[in-house]
Amino acid sequence: MTYRSHAELGGLPVDLAVVPEPEGDPFHAPWEPRAHALTIAMGATGVWNLDMLRSVRETLPDYRQRSYYEIWYGALVALLERHGLATADELTAGAAQGPARPVPRVLDAGQVWPMLRKGAPTLRPASRSARFAVGDRVRTSAVPATGHTRLPAYARGRVGIVECLRGAHVYPDAHAAGLGEAPEWLYAVVFTAAELWGEDAAAGQSVAIDLWEPYLEPA
């Protein structure tokens, strides 16, 4: 099965300037904070997890034509339809036309701030010792992704050095696929610019990427 993420932007040779923006309201249209809040509130129902949500976002066929919060909106609608929580007809009409399906939880106003303060830590007890140590040379997998993953395409098949261990964390590749948390060791791995972009790359530049153990082999 081919899996096509449209979110693999790192290192693309784009000829676009980055346009700075003053500090202030992070939203730029009245609907944006509402789309943002709806996404968090529906996430709190527990019907899907964050990795499933990211997977739906990055596979929206028109991902690169959408604004950021249009991506959020599109992914939320896709998940609602996929889980039978709302139909396309209902969302067009702006009115419920059938009964609700039960959801595990509904967030109430009093729970909002405690929930945001608590967050959702992904650190988990490790079930075995780490395979790699600080200073180890590792090579990332060169195999194309078959599902949601957090090993960026630009860093596939590259050699880096383990800079630190970050403990065992929920493994997004499994979590997004509905296979549970399946915690794996997470490492910060440093790659030189020359390794990532070729010998012409500027000296004195490096990229550190947080990578899970299954992405790595000894080099």
């Binding site: 993420s5 979110a7 693999e8 932007l9 790192g10 290192g11 784009v14 980055v18 346009v19 700075p20 923006e21 500090e23 992070p26 939203f27 249209a29 609907w31 904070p33 509402r34 789309a35 943002h36 709806l38 968090i40 529906m42 950021y68 909106y73 609602l80 929580l85 709302a86 969302l91 702006g94 009115a95 609700a100 959801v103 509904v106 106003a109 729970q111 909002v112 701030w113 929930m115 945001l116 959702a120 830590p121 992904t122 090993l151 960026p152 860093a155 964390h169 997470l186 990532l196 972009w197 790359a201 004195g204 530049q205 490096s206 990229v207 550190a208 990427i209 947080d210 990578l211 899970w212």
Partner: protein
């Protein structure tokens, strides 16, 4: 989009999946309770308090929580410190991961194709877009936030700020300086 999001909100409310009062709370939280002034206070404290800076280096999540900032999208914080020979810049090439409790929600450029594509490959070019030029000898380290670790850059303390108190120092700490696309400001003459 305005109408589509309104329709979505109506359906989800009618079906009882979301509580309108909870939506109002969420919107208020991200417009008024979290933002880059939180991070600026963390940086200013680090500049004046060596023990706090050391704590921040070792366990940023706990050090930042001691100032009251914690939670969603900041569960695992790491502080990376700039120095004369080393500049740090943070990106999320795969989506938009950003340390919400200390910086709030990200600006549009942080989520843009231009930034996500170029930050890892051409950080000096990105810095130029922000009007920043670093010495050739300065190493640049870009952190791609691919996991649930969130990075906060501790910019260098500007020269000539020895007499300033923490609040005045925090006013010099820009959002961009904590992402690594800017430098902390210098005090007005």
């Amino acid at each position: 989009m305005e109408l589509r999001v309104r329709a979505l909100e109506t359906v989800l409310t009618q079906k009882g999946y979301v509580d309108p009062a909870a939506l109002d709370e969420l919107i208020d939280a991200y417009q008024t309770r979290v933002g880059p002034r939180n991070g600026a206070r963390v940086v200013a404290r680090a500049w004046v308090d060596a023990a706090f800076k050391d704590w921040l280096r070792r366990d940023a999540t706990a050090a930042v929580a001691s100032l009251g900032y914690q939670g969603r999208q900041g569960e695992h914080l790491v502080a990376v410190e700039n120095s004369p020979g080393r500049h740090n810049m943070v990106v999320c090439t795969l989506c938009s991961c950003y340390p919400w409790p200390v910086l709030g929600l990200p600006p549009v450029w942080y989520k843009s194709t231009a930034y996500r594509a170029r930050a890892v490959r051409d950080p000096r070019g990105v810095l130029a877009d922000f009007g920043v030029t670093l010495p050739e000898s300065t190493e640049i380290r870009v952190w791609d936030s691919t996991a649930e670790v969130r990075y906060l850059v501790i910019p260098e303390r500007p020269p000539g700020t020895e007499g300033l108190d923490e609040e005045a120092l925090a006013a010099l700490v820009t959002r961009d300086s904590m992402i690594g696309t800017g430098l902390a400001g210098t005090p007005a003459p």
